[in-house]
């Protein structure tokens, strides 16, 4: 009886994948260095594809610069102008030298999010380790910027002015935790939004398959959700970049 039910459940799962199946990582080229598993997986494939896609788009759009832009050149220029404007608005004039970092971060996240919307593609940003690595990169860069710019004065970042010195043993750890929570919140926001969205799309796709003729209703909903997901993909890339700019501003100006 027990084996029977197990058999049945595996059969059912073969017929319809679970909605979380799309996040599975498969090693395409197994590779171990020491005790670490550094296999080339399907996630790596899509990261490489994202970078290639961005490179091809920008070289294609800008290889012949013209005064009257083509559509692709216009898109590239708009992306550039958009990020440059946001950076200058939030981080100020001094933040401009970090533009290459912010722009490549924005393009990578945007490219990965949008590439994930292609059917059968793997969404790289729905893996928490990827988003956490990106957030840690931002965190380390910002801490380095703060320390290099202010040296020892960077400690005053954790000591808010206008607080009596007696409260410092209480305030400083809290400020420190608040500072350390930045990469966590950055990574969790991106990961949760992308994963929830893709799971939802898959759930409604499963409804469409299961319900037969009545599957038209979830199909219509799925189309609407796809548009919504594309919007979320763009918005999340924007939020990530804006928060990077805000943190840069904090690191440059110390409050």
């Amino acid at each position: 009886m027990h084996a029977d039910t197990q058999n049945l459940s595996t059969k059912a799962s073969q017929k319809i994948h679970s909605p979380l199946h799309q996040f599975e990582i498969k090693a395409l080229m197994p590779l171990h260095i020491g005790k670490y598993d550094v296999s080339f997986t399907n996630a790596s494939v899509f990261m490489v594809l994202t970078v290639l896609f961005i490179l091809i788009f920008f070289t294609g759009a800008l290889h012949k610069k013209r005064i009257i832009p083509t559509k692709f050149q216009l898109m590239a220029e708009m992306l550039y102008g958009f990020v440059a404007q946001q950076l200058e608005e939030t981080a100020g004039k001094e933040g401009k030298i970090y533009f290459p970092f912010v722009f490549s971060l924005f393009l990578f996240i945007l490219g990965a999010n949008l590439l994930g919307m292609v059917p059968y593609a793997y969404t790289v940003t729905s893996q928490i380790i990827v988003t956490f690595s990106l957030a840690m990169l931002v965190f380390v860069v910002i801490t380095c910027v703060g320390i290099l710019r202010h040296g020892r004065d960077f400690i005053t970042y954790f000591m808010p002015s206008g607080v009596p010195k007696v409260l410092f043993p209480l305030i400083v750890p809290i400020e420190l935790i608040s500072y350390l929570s930045r990469p966590v919140s950055l990574s969790i926001r991106l990961f949760a939004n992308m994963m929830a969205g893709h799971t939802m799309l898959k759930v409604f796709a499963i409804f469409t398959v299961v319900m037969g003729m009545w599957g038209v209703a979830p199909l219509v909903l799925n189309i609407v959700l796809t548009v919504f997901e594309i919007m979320v993909a763009i918005l999340q890339a924007y939020v990530f970049t804006i928060l990077t700019c805000i943190y840069l501003h904090d690191a440059i100006h110390l409050h």
């Binding site: 013209r66 005064i67 009257i68 935790i177 929570s181 966590v184 939020v239 928060l243």
Partner: protein, 112 residues
């Protein structure tokens, strides 16, 4: 007198001149800016509280593992993490409030 084969630049400047003559579609500047900012803070605020607690609980677990102070590390760090989360949210909202206050001040100044 126009020459027979206008270059691309001339065509563009003609188009720009035509476009300038057209009635303006959006007379006021779009107030998209505040919408974008509100969307950002909307997404920001949701995860800020939890992430502070997650970070502090991980720290507390680490402290417990190293110094073997079993329940106290995680308890203390949890309390401090929730205070830090509240602080995070209050900072974001205070900043929003300040911005909106300065904006309304400017508007009233313009009216006067």
């Amino acid at each position: 007198m126009k020459n027979q084969n206008p270059t691309e630049e001339e065509v563009l400047s003609e188009k720009i001149a035509l476009f300038r003559k057209k009635p303006v579609l959006f007379p006021q500047k779009f107030s998209q800016d505040t919408g974008k900012k509100q969307a950002v803070s909307f997404f920001r605020v949701g995860s800020e509280f939890v992430s502070a607690i997650i970070a502090s609980v991980l720290l507390g677990l680490g402290v417990d593992a190293i110094f073997e102070t079993q329940p106290f590390g995680i308890l203390g760090f949890f309390i401090m993490g929730s205070i830090a989360g509240f602080l995070n949210i209050f900072r974001i909202l205070r900043k929003m409030n300040d911005e909106s206050a300065s904006k309304t001040e400017n508007e009233t100044d313009a009216h006067l």
